[in-house]
Every structure is written in C-alpha cells, then in structure tokens.
C-alpha cells in the first residue's frame, strides 16, 4: 500500500511535466502585439548536479557531504508576480551483497524517498541573478532491509533486520539562481526545516545450536528465535547551508 502511495508521488511530477501542453503552460496575447505570445507562467525543472560539476571542474579538496535529498526540483511561477508552486523529489536505492567475511553473508537494500511541496516567490535581483523564498511541507521515508546468515560449527544464525525512518516536516527555504543563459540556470538553496522523525526497527534472529551428548555422541539441535522491536520518535530543527547545486531549465 505504501509503495502505491510512493508510486503516485513519483509519477505526479512526471505527469506535471508532460502535461505542459494541456494546462500548466498557458499563453495569452499581449495587447497590441498580435504575433508574439506572452507567457503567463514560467516553469523551472532542475536536477541536482554536484557530482556532475565535480566531474567537470576540479573544485578543490573540499569534501562537503551533500545532504539535500531532492534530486529533481520543479516549480511553476506566475510570470507577472513570481508567486508559484515548488516541489522536490528524490529517490535512491542502494543495494549491497557482502560476502567478504567468511563467517557471514549479508544482503542490504536501502531505499529512500523524499518529497516536498511548497509555495514560493521568485524575483529578479539583476539580469543574471534570481532569488526566491518560500515555505515547504516535506515527507521522507527510508527503508533498510538487511538479511544475514552465518553457519558456524555448532551454531547457525539467520537474521532479518527491517528499519524504517520517516519524517514529516515544514519550514522556510531561500534559493539563489544564476542565469548561465536565458534558459539555463545554476542554483543553490538554504533551508531551515523542522522535522518530526519516527524510527522503527525490527530484528528477527533465528539461531540453531547443535549439542553433542558427551556420553553417547548423539547430536541434537535446538532452534530458537528472538525478535527485537523498537520504535523511537525525535525532532530536528536544522539550518542547512547551501551545498547542493541544481542545474535548471527554464521554459
């Protein structure tokens, strides 16, 4: 059920972008000009480009970790007032199979989904610089599934660990964009989000022990299972400085 919800959230901006011909991008005729259409809205579609820019330009040894989870941002703003809607989306899957340790094999899949929607106002500071500020609502969900198994001489174990971290939040955001060309922008943003975080973890261990009767030499095995089920809540109120760079298209 949760995945359906996530799927809808993922596909929503795709629909939004693809439906520009239908509703979002509307044109009206400027008074006194019968040939040149005047846009009533501007749309911005951006992708996080830190890795790409690092590949293209050597930006020193600074190793600041990019914690902005939004890989794609999209906004639609009124051409007249600059007021509009903004949304961000991020989805990553990280999967590993670790067999390097002879004692155990471990398989991990971590999937993380982040989204935010908000209202904002964009305004030009100069010909080349554009600022925006707004207020966002955000949601993040991260699932971590890890399975392990190990087989010792008299003891074998298998374990399933499922962790979920999710948060809802809200807070202000300010952004600064630079027009590389009329249609291409490079931007960054700072946020001050409040987050209400819930972390739950369930670890199920199944262990089989083999014992040998010293007198008869007969082997007998005993299987036991244990479950650790924990849940925690926390809050976070943090200022995120501009680290993530977004490469944006204006259309």
């Amino acid at each position: 059920m949760r995945y359906r919800f996530i799927l809808v959230l993922i596909l929503f901006p795709v629909f939004l972008c693809s439906s520009q011909r239908l509703t979002v991008l509307t044109y009206r005729m400027a008074p006194g000009d019968s040939t040149k259409p005047v846009r009533s809205t501007h749309q911005y579609l951006g992708v996080q480009a830190n890795q790409l820019l690092n590949q293209l330009f050597s930006l020193g040894n600074n190793n600041a970790v990019v914690t902005n989870p939004y890989l794609i941002i999209y906004s639609v703003n009124s051409a007249r007032t600059g007021v509009g809607l903004n949304m961000g989306l991020g989805y990553t899957v990280h999967s590993t199979d670790d067999k390097s340790d002879p004692n155990t094999t471990r398989s991990t899949t971590i999937s993380s989904f982040s989204t935010r929607v908000g209202v904002e106002k964009k305004s030009l500071l100069s010909k080349k610089w554009q600022a925006s500020y707004g207020f966002d609502l955000l949601y993040n969900n991260e699932d971590d599934h890890t399975s392990t198994s190990s087989k010792f001489q008299f003891n074998s174990n298998s374990s399933d660990s499922n962790s979920n971290t999710s948060y809802f939040g809200f807070g202000p955001r300010v952004a600064l964009n630079f027009f590389i060309t009329e249609k291409i922008l490079l931007g960054t943003e700072a946020t001050y989000y409040f987050k209400s975080i819930k972390v739950s973890q369930k670890i199920t261990n199944t262990s089989t022990s083999v014992t040998i009767d010293p007198t008869t030499g007969q082997q007998s095995s005993q299987t036991s299972s244990s479950t650790i089920d924990t849940s925690q809540k926390a809050t976070d109120f943090a200022l995120k400085v501009p680290v993530a760079l977004f490469l944006m298209l204006k259309f």
Partner: protein, 363 residues
C-alpha cells in the same frame, strides 16, 4: 508523452519496487581454528588465553545484533586494521560516521589498563590518553565496547544480553574457562579480552636499508617540510606529545560539518581538530583523514602543498609568517620521494602475523 511510454515508465517503477532480493543463505560452514600451542601476545602477559579469546571475539560476527559484522569487518589485518573505504558499513549496511582508524600501537595511546573494571586512573599525561578521531574515549576497555553498542556499527543495545548470547555458544564456554577460570561471560570479560588482543597489535618500522629515493624522502620529511614536528615516525604512538595534545586542525575545511574534538570538549578552540594518526603502515590505511576524503598519499601531500584552508584553529605549524595558510609547494619529485619513504613504514610482519588473523576458517 504517449500512452506506451507512460506504461513503460510505470512498469519500470513496478519492477524496481518488486526487486527486493531474498537473502542468499550462507552455506559455508566455518570452524574455529586455534593453534594447539598458544601464541604469545604480550611479553608481560601471564595468560595468553585472554588475548586469544579477544582474537576470537574480534572476528566473531555474532557480536553484532544481527550476526552480520565483526570488529574485523571494518578493521582488516591486511590494511593495518583499517578499512579501504571512506566509511565502513554497519550491521544494516548504513555508513558509519567516520573513517575506520587503524588499530596498532594502542598501548602508547592509553598507557594504563585497569584490571577487572572499566574505571581506572590514568597514569600518563592526560593529553596522551585519547582514542577515536575525536578522543572521546580514554580507556581501551571502554573503547572496545563502543562500536559493539553503537546503533549504526554493531547495534547491540544491551551488552548483558550479548554476554548471555555468547554464553550459550559451546566454543565460548571453553574459551572463557581457559581465560578466566570459569565459563561465565560478562561484558567486563569481553572488554578485557578484546583490549588485551588489541594492545598486543604493535607496528614497527622495517629496518631495511633505504634506497636513494627513500633516503631523500626521509630527509625531506624530517628537514625541508618538517612533517616530523607533528608525525613522529620514530615514536610508537606516531605523534608529538604536547603542543596540541595529539589533536590538530590541519585546515581541511573553512567550515567543518564534523567538528571533531570540539564535540567532546565543547570548546570552540577545538573545532576541526582531529587525532594525529600514526604513520606506521600509512601506505595501507587509505583513504585518509577522519572522513576518508583523500584517496591516496599523493592527495594528502597535495593538501599540504597547496590545499590548506584558513581556519581560526589552524595549527601554527601550518601558517606562514603572515599568519596565512602555509603553501608548502611540494614538487612532484619531492612528493614521490616522501611517498617512497612513507612506504618504508609498513610492518609486513604485523599484517601477516597469524596470531592476529581471523581464526574462523571455512570448512
């Protein structure tokens, strides 16, 4: 976007979500293989059964909450007990917060090991008592339990439950009896055995004659670039006592996301200070720094050559006469010579010594 493309997109997402892989069952059986004659770990140790037990514990993945990783998963003998990734993975595959430090010559970092409990009175100057990148632990016996209890690393929240878990394993009943005279497993014994094993890991520099290039590198290290003013390769602990207390800000960043020692002391003057690592086996312990930002020794030297950032806590030895960050401008040839010298600090005996190796063997 036409309907066919949309359908493909939806299908793609569905496949992505459906790809939750089932864990592959481990069919390899491992057996504990210890030598019939005990290895000698510490010259002054009366009971080598204790570090032997420590060695088994160090490599046993059952010390993690889901039996997935051991201390040895992130501290690999072939790498001077460091790891070859910036951040090792914890029991759930999540990255740890800092780069795994090498484990060697800890005896010189802590000096005193109280017997029987986790509380002791340091017998050496306070600035030499420091473990971890930020020096947050003073006692080795307490330090060894931290990764086990860490919620990202090994995830054991109840160390008494761990003791109970281990006491049900036949091998440990025998090992604890040999080490401590009875099969009772306690967290204090686990800590004691692990710390005695770790104490015994000592790296020494090779005594091979240096080549011309290595000799040049040594002269540059001690002379022109004065690396020795912080990294004392001739000392086992590897750094100079005093004048920074073993912790320095070397100008890695202008603003620090990880504030290092200041996280422990709460002092603004400690922001960006991290433990000076020993250079013994430095050729094996890449990537370097607390966050593994430098992949190679060449990258490290490039930092000192022209990458030092200004910071209020930047160490005075890394400033020029105008109080600006020093640019050592190390030439290509000098870098190659220094790296050649650093490579001579590898202790091949330590990294291949069977008594420090994983005692679990695939049957």
């Amino acid at each position: 976007m036409n309907k066919a493309k949309l359908a493909l997109l939806v299908l793609g997402f569905c496949i992505l979500f459906a790809c939750q892989k089932a864990a592959e069952l481990n069919t390899r059986e491992v057996v504990l293989t210890l030598p019939s004659t005990l290895d000698t770990y510490l010259s002054d140790s009366l009971n080598n059964n204790i570090p032997t037990l420590g060695r088994v514990l160090f490599y046993d993945s059952r010390l993690s909450v889901n039996n997935s990783i051991s201390c040895g998963s992130c501290h690999k003998q072939a790498l001077a007990f460091a790891d070859n990734v910036p951040f090792s993975q914890g029991f759930e595959g999540k990255p740890t917060f800092r780069n795994s430090m090498p484990i060697q010559n800890l005896v010189t970092a802590i000096g005193f090991f109280p017997q029987g409990d986790l509380v002791g009175v340091p017998q050496v100057p306070a600035d030499t008592l420091s473990l971890f990148w930020d020096g947050r632990e003073k006692l080795l016996k307490a330090m060894v339990l931290r990764p086990i209890a860490n919620h990202v690393e090994m995830g054991i929240t109840d160390l008494d439950a761990l003791a109970k878990k281990l006491s049900g394993i036949p091998d440990y009943q025998d090992l604890f009896t040999k080490a401590y005279g009875n099969p009772d497993v306690t967290q204090i014994k686990i800590a004691d055995a692990l710390s005695q094993f770790l104490q015994s890991i000592v790296a020494r520099s090779g005594d091979f004659p240096l080549t011309a290039l290595e000799q040049t590198g040594q002269e540059l290290f001690f002379g022109k670039y004065n690396c020795n003013s912080c990294h004392q390769t001739q000392a086992l602990n590897g750094y100079k006592m005093g004048g920074g207390g073993g912790f320095l800000n070397i100008g890695l960043d202008q603003t620090y996301r990880d504030i290092g020692l200041a996280d422990v002391t709460g002092n603004a003057s400690d922001v960006g200070k991290f433990k000076i690592p020993t250079l013994h086996n430095v050729a094996l312990t890449a990537p370097y720094m607390h966050d593994g930002r430098f992949k190679t020794l060449d990258d490290v030297l490039n930092h000192y050559s022209e990458g030092i950032q200004n910071h209020p806590n930047l160490d005075f030895r890394l400033k020029d006469v105008s109080n600006h960050p020093l640019k050592m401008n190390i030439s290509y040839h000098d870098k190659q010579a220094i790296i050649a010298f650093l490579n001579t600090l590898t202790d091949y005996k330590m990294i291949t010594d069977p008594k420090f190796s994983n005692p679990f063997r695939v049957k």
